[in-house]
Every structure is written in structure tokens, then in C-alpha cells.
């Protein structure tokens, strides 16, 4: 057993951190969060040149490196609050394609993603906000050789600039049976994307309406009706990937807060000398380290396809959802008034923490999944 990243992965981390320190400064994050698209096409191109958009994609479809390599990069992306579709593409669309895509879909779309030419996302949740199979109500009817989609997807990440969208639809019955996945390219007639005003401005969430959208027969991913197990596996990848971003952000908040406590003076002393402050920081450390352990383990189970990958990813998402929110809130508290200003970056992490918490199921949702796994 070796519970640490390899030397090569640590090198990848250093190079990702250096790249983002130059390219994704807080100033850039703020420019992008105020922009229409919320991402920078030039930066995307440079990230793809570094190979980031190929990580975790199988070699035969143009990929390089493993899911664990991707996790290293996503952790750094979360640390830098990288705006844009890296998580939506690599954390959600890619695993859905790997799990459920036909060979031709994989060849075209994974290849285009790996080369940096395409961005993609996953449209799963609907106005009910549910992450389980029962939440999938958008209907796909067979229409001739193809399919016709009607319904609403409510919280689709980075939909506006996605070249491809994997759409979860109901083709029959309810629950886990009758879930099918479709690969939608571009904006077919009847599909409308409306960007939502969201708490975390570094991410874009959209409502996507499907009003009689006609798709070819080859838009279906794999077999009809039986896609839930594949989608579930994709969501396990997604949860581990999102947790990696979250622990990266949490670590940055912890470091910034500890640094502030060393320099900010009150009553003639650095505030970190007061145990009311230092013990809060110690608690943040415990949460951050434990979240990191749970996340790395979940990432390993996904990478190794270990039998406990579902449990491990739920454990990580449950723990890290609570931990990042608490750490980001405490980060504001340690910083005092300056931490509550728009000018300081603390609120960006606080908002990212909350939006990540409710993405892919919050702690309560995943704890229930853990309880089920424990046969409670």
C-alpha cells in the first residue's frame, strides 16, 4: 500500500500550480466571473496543450494519463478557483462517455475533448433538484429511427459553451429502469439554454429546455433503458473529481487564514496566538486533512475500479461537502471584516464551497447512501 501520489504526479501538481499561478490569478478569476461566458478560450487551449483535457481518457481515444492524474490537476484548479468547464467536461461528460458511449461516440467526442477542441457537460438534474434515478423525468420517445426529447434540465453546469451535452432521459417506467443517455451535439432545434443567476459566479449553471428536440438514432448512448448503472458510475467519478476541487479550495482557504493569523496584530500580538483563533484553525486543518484522505481514497477506488467505489465516493462527498463549507465560513471569520468584503477573495471560496456542496448531492444525501450501504 502506498497512500500518496507518485513523484510524477507531484511534478504534475507543481506544474499545474505554476501554470495557474500565472494564468489564473485572482484578477483573471474576477474578470472571467464578470464575463458572459465565464471562461477563457485561450487558457483552455493552453491547458489542453499541457494535456489536462486528455487526463483519464483511454489512450485509444486520444487520452493520456489516469483519473488520479486528473484529480491532481482538479485539486489545483479548485485551489485557483479556475472558472470554466474543466470540471463539467472532465468530471461529468467524460466519465459518462467512457461508461456509456458507443465506440463511435467515444472516438469522436472523447477525441475532440482530449485535443482541446470540444467542451462538454452532463444534463442530469431537473427542477426537483434530485440526483437519483427517480429525479429523471425528461421524456425521450422513439420517433421513427430517432428520438424526440421533451422536458427541462434545471442545473446544467457550463451548458452555454458546451459543444456536447450528455442528457439523461426517461424512456420508460420509473426509478432505475428506463433511464437512457443521449449525446446532443450543439443546439438542435427546440433546445434552449438559459444561463441562471448563481451564487458562485465562477461557475455557470443553466436551465436547458427540450421542446420536441429531434435526435438521430445514433444519439442514443449504449442501450436504451438501462443506462442508470453506467450513469451512477460516471457520478462516482464526478463526485471524486468535485471533491478534489473542493479539497484544493479548502487547503487554500486554510493557508490564507493561517497566514493572516500570523501577521494580523491585535492587542499588540498576532491574532494566531489567541487560542480562540488558533484552535479554530486547528479544526480547519483536521477537516481539510480528513477530507483530503477521503477524497484521495475515493479517487483511487474509481481509478482502480475497486468494489467499494460507490461507498468511497459517497463518503468523500458527504465529508467534504460539510468540511469545505465549514472551512470557507471559518476563513471569513478568521479574516474579520476584510474577509466579508467583495475585494477579498474569501467570499469566492465561500460561494464555491456552497455551490459544490449542493452539486452531485449534499452531505445528507450521501450519508443516506452510506447508511444504505451499511444495511441500516
Amino acid at each position: 500500500m502506498e497512500f500518496a501520489f507518485s513523484e510524477e504526479q507531484e511534478m504534475l501538481r507543481r506544474s499545474a500550480r505554476d501554470f495557474l499561478a500565472k494564468e489564473c490569478t485572482p484578477k483573471v478569476v474576477r474578470r472571467l466571473m464578470e464575463s458572459e461566458d465565464g471562461y477563457d478560450a485561450g487558457m483552455w487551449k493552453r491547458m489542453s496543450e499541457l494535456g489536462w483535457t486528455a487526463l483519464g481518457i483511454p489512450e485509444q481515444y486520444g487520452g493520456v494519463g489516469t483519473f488520479l492524474d486528473l484529480v491532481v490537476v482538479l485539486e489545483e484548479a479548485g485551489r485557483a478557483l479556475l472558472p470554466g468547464p474543466l470540471f463539467a467536461t472532465m468530471g461529468l461528460a467524460v466519465p459518462a462517455l467512457i461508461e456509456a458511449g458507443t465506440d463511435s461516440q467515444k472516438k469522436h467526442v472523447l477525441g475532440a475533448i482530449a485535443s482541446g477542441d470540444a467542451r462538454a457537460t452532463l444534463a442530469l438534474t431537473e427542477p426537483s433538484g434530485r440526483w437519483d434515478a427517480d429525479g429523471i423525468k425528461l421524456v425521450a420517445h422513439q420517433a421513427g429511427d430517432g428520438w424526440r426529447l421533451d422536458g427541462v434540465k434545471a442545473f446544467v453546469p457550463e451548458a452555454a459553451r458546451a459543444d456536447y451535452m450528455v442528457v439523461a432521459a426517461r424512456t420508460r417506467s420509473e426509478g432505475e429502469d428506463g433511464v437512457s443517455l443521449f449525446l446532443v451535439k450543439g443546439r438542435p432545434k427546440g433546445m434552449a439554454v438559459a444561463q441562471l443567476d448563481s451564487l458562485d459566479m465562477t461557475r455557470r449553471w443553466s436551465e436547458v429546455r427540450f421542446d420536441g428536440v429531434e435526435l438521430d438514432g445514433n444519439a442514443l448512448m449504449g442501450a436504451a433503458h438501462t443506462a442508470w448503472p453506467q450513469l451512477k458510475r460516471a457520478l462516482e467519478w464526478g463526485a471524486a473529481a468535485l471533491c478534489a476541487e473542493m479539497v484544493g479550495g479548502a487547503q487554500k482557504v486554510l493557508e490564507a487564514s493561517a497566514d493572516y493569523a500570523k501577521t494580523r496584530q491585535q492587542f499588540g500580538k498576532p491574532i494566531g496566538i489567541y487560542q480562540a483563533v488558533s484552535h479554530r484553525l486547528a479544526d480547519m486543518l483536521v477537516l481539510s486533512e480528513s477530507g483530503r484522505s477521503a477524497t484521495y481514497y475515493a479517487a483511487w477506488t474509481v481509478d482502480a475500479d475497486a468494489p467499494d467505489r460507490s461507498l468511497a465516493s459517497s463518503m468523500a462527498k458527504a465529508y467534504v461537502s460539510d468540511a469545505y463549507r465549514k472551512i470557507a465560513g471559518d476563513g471569513i471569520q478568521v479574516h474579520g471584516g476584510i474577509g466579508f468584503t467583495w475585494e477579498h477573495d474569501m467570499h469566492l471560496y465561500f460561494k464555491r464551497a456552497k455551490s459544490s456542496e449542493v452539486t452531485l448531492g449534499d452531505a445528507t444525501y450521501h450519508r443516506e447512501l452510506v447508511a444504505q450501504a451499511l444495511d441500516l
Partner: protein
């Protein structure tokens, strides 16, 4: 990153699994049913484990250990969880006494002390805290007077687990007064059967007397029983505490998983496991116990690279103690009014006993100081 077991490790796991299945005591025993019976049961269990080569798995072979790696220790711990097997008796000796003798002892000392410790023939206790030296250990007042070839020890220690049955005490004494209170300390291994050693039980909030006071009156300790160098006891004490919170931390991670599983079973038996609030709590505890264990795995990987446990071990102890309190409290709560009468499952005892967890072996306050100062680099508060 790799959690797969090698073929050799799998073989070891299967061997341990089969052995535990055939040999573990049917009755785990609990302190609630009487201390003597409990201690003797655990001592016999340790002897059995030792004879099979499962105690001191990472300790050198020439001293009675298995001479295997951390991996085997982890595999063994995991199998103990799966089997719901009880712990051996000599927890202080195994977690601290042995490692500190291996780190600071002479060859003669290693030959003398380690094997009987592993076999459970000689139980160890830790004489650190005093009535006026708790978190501030360097304020200790137990004196060791140099008499040439031996010391004469006078003073008092307190909160000493297992002192009533221990053969050896890891005793930190003051040999000389120095401007820095961390200088001039001498670390002795004291035979608890020596004349002048008196153990008085301290009755705790559980009604048990698991802790003790130890009084030392003109106790003669040969200089061959100094551990490390005379006057340099602080360094030896710190090694002890690092092991206490590090390697013992791994054992705590194991224990947390056992407790979480027992709590789940308790909820099922009570018919409370369909209550969403109970489900949430038990799931949360299980997740935290797992995170605790995974933190330990990361610490072990780091330890394989650097040799000694780092201050991260304090995370394990801090997490475990607070988690254990919450688990025991929930166990009592979900039984409703029945939780406060009778003690069939031992939870009422655990509920009370766990209050000491955040005090013993470094209070949560001290541990947070350690994390703040040594890991985060914040200024010292004292």
C-alpha cells in the same frame, strides 16, 4: 497510490483471518463486568496472539516481534476489525513502552524488556502526569536523587492506567533544576514491585478504578534502568508522546471503526435504524471513522519515508476522542429511557468512559495547540 495487496500480503491476510476465526474469544468482555476478569481475559488473549506471532508485528524479530512491515500491521488491524476481536491488554506498552525502548534503549534493555511486554507477561504503565503537572508536563516534581549507581525516587504520579497490574512504569523524573524546565529530566523504567511504590486506585465517574495514583517513597532505581541519557528525559518523553499519538493513533482508528459498527448493530437491535436522524448520525460517524483510518494510512506512508510519526498523529487522537464521545452518547440516546438503566451492551459505561478520551494522552486543547503551532506554524500561545 496503491491499496492493492501484494500476493504475500494477501497470504498474510488470509492466514490472520483464518487464525482469528479459529482462536478469538467468543466473549469480547467489557470493563463493565468487572475489572479483574476483564484484565485477565485480555492478558490471556494477548498471550495467545503473541504465541501466534501477531503482537509487535513491526518490532524486530530478535526481541520477539514479527519483524514485518507497517503493511502487515495495517492488515492485521483491519482483520481485527472485521473479526470484532478484542484488543490485547498491554496497550500502553505496545503503543508507547516498546517503541520508546526500541528508539532509546540499550541492547541490554531491549533484550530485557521487549519480549515479556509482547507476551503480556509484564504489563506497562506510563508515569507522566502529576497533580500539578498535567498538560504542562515539564512542571513535574517527582524527584530522582543521584546516589552513584542508583537513584532514589520520591514523588507522586496520577491518572495512571493499568498501574494496579503493571510491572513497569515509564517514569519521568526531575533530576536537576534548570532554567529551562525541559532540561534536567531523567526518564526511568521503574519496577512497580520495588519497595516504596504504592498504587492507590482512583474511582472514576464510571465507578471503576481503572486509573490510579502512584506514590514513590524512597524508591531505589538502578541506573541500568535509565532510558536514554540522564538529564535528557524530555527527548525520550516526546518520543513516547509521538508514539502515543501516532502508532497508538492507528489503533484508535481501528477502534473507531469497531465502535461505529457496534453502534450500527445496536441501532438495528433497538429497531431505531429506520429513523432518518439516526441513520444520518451513524453514517456520519462511520464516515469519520473511515476518514480517521485513511488519515492514518497517509501518516503511515509518510512514516515509511521519514521513519518517525509526525505531529499529524495528533489529528488522529483528537478526531478519535471527540468521535468516540459522540458515538457513545448517541448509543445511549437512541435507547431512550432504557439508556440510563441497566447496561447490557456496555454503552452506558462507554458513555461515561469516553469523557476521559478528550483529557487523557493530551487534552484536546493541547492537541489543537500542537496542530496550530507545529503543523500550521502559528505563534506559541504560552
Amino acid at each position: 497510490m496503491d491499496f492493492e495487496l501484494s500476493d504475500g500480503e494477501k497470504e498474510f491476510r488470509d492466514e490472520v483471518r483464518a487464525w482469528l476465526k479459529a482462536n478469538q474469544p467468543r466473549d469480547r468482555g467489557s470493563m463493565a463486568e468487572g475489572q479483574k476478569k476483564f484484565i485477565e481475559g485480555r492478558r490471556a488473549w494477548q498471550k495467545k496472539l503473541f504465541d501466534a506471532g501477531y503482537v509487535g508485528i513491526t518490532w524486530p524479530k530478535e526481541y520477539g516481534g514479527r519483524g514485518a512491515g507497517f503493511m502487515e500491521q495495517l492488515i492485521f488491524n483491519d482483520e481485527m476489525i472485521l473479526a470484532h476481536a478484542p484488543e490485547p491488554i498491554n496497550v500502553i506498552g505496545l503503543g508507547m513502552g516498546g517503541p520508546v525502548v526500541i528508539a532509546h534503549g540499550t541492547e541490554e534493555q531491549k533484550q530485557r524488556y521487549l519480549r515479556p511486554l509482547l507476551a503480556g507477561d509484564e504489563i506497562w504503565c506510563q508515569g507522566f502526569s502529576e497533580p500539578n503537572a498535567g498538560s504542562d508536563l515539564s512542571g513535574l516534581q517527582t524527584r530522582a536523587e543521584d546516589k552513584g549507581d542508583h537513584y532514589v525516587v520520591n514523588g507522586q504520579k496520577v491518572w495512571t492506567t493499568l498501574a494496579q497490574v503493571a510491572k513497569w512504569c515509564m517514569l519521568v523524573t526531575r533530576e536537576r533544576k534548570e532554567p529551562n524546565p525541559r532540561d534536567g529530566l531523567t526518564y526511568l523504567l521503574v519496577d512497580m514491585e520495588s519497595p516504596g511504590v504504592e498504587v492507590r486506585p482512583l474511582v472514576q465517574i464510571t465507578g471503576d478504578a481503572e486509573f490510579n495514583e502512584i506514590f514513590f517513597k524512597d524508591v531505589v532505581v538502578p541506573k541500568s534502568q535509565i532510558l536514554g541519557q540522564a538529564g535528557n528525559g524530555w527527548a525520550v518523553a516526546i518520543t513516547t508522546l509521538l508514539h502515543e499519538r501516532g502508532t497508538l493513533g492507528m489503533a484508535l482508528a481501528t477502534r473507531a471503526q469497531i465502535t461505529a459498527a457496534e453502534l450500527a448493530e445496536h441501532a438495528r437491535k433497538l429497531g431505531r435504524s429506520s429513523d432518518p436522524l439516526v441513520r444520518q448520525k451513524i453514517a456520519q460517524y462511520t464516515i469519520e471513522a473511515r476518514a480517521l483510518q485513511l488519515n492514518g494510512y497517509r501518516a503511515v506512508t509518510a512514516m515509511k519515508r521519514n521513519g518517525i510519526p509526525g505531529p499529524e498523529g495528533s489529528i488522529l487522537k483528537l478526531m478519535w476522542s471527540e468521535l468516540n464521545q459522540r458515538m457513545a452518547e448517541t448509543a445511549v440516546d437512541i435507547a431512550g429511557p432504557a439508556g440510563q438503566v441497566g447496561d447490557g451492551d456496555g454503552w452506558r459505561y462507554q458513555f461515561l468512559r469516553s469523557r476521559a478520551n478528550t483529557i487523557e494522552a493530551g487534552t484536546s486543547e493541547v492537541l489543537r495547540n500542537i496542530l496550530a503551532e507545529r503543523v500550521l506554524g502559528l505563534p506559541r500561545s504560552r
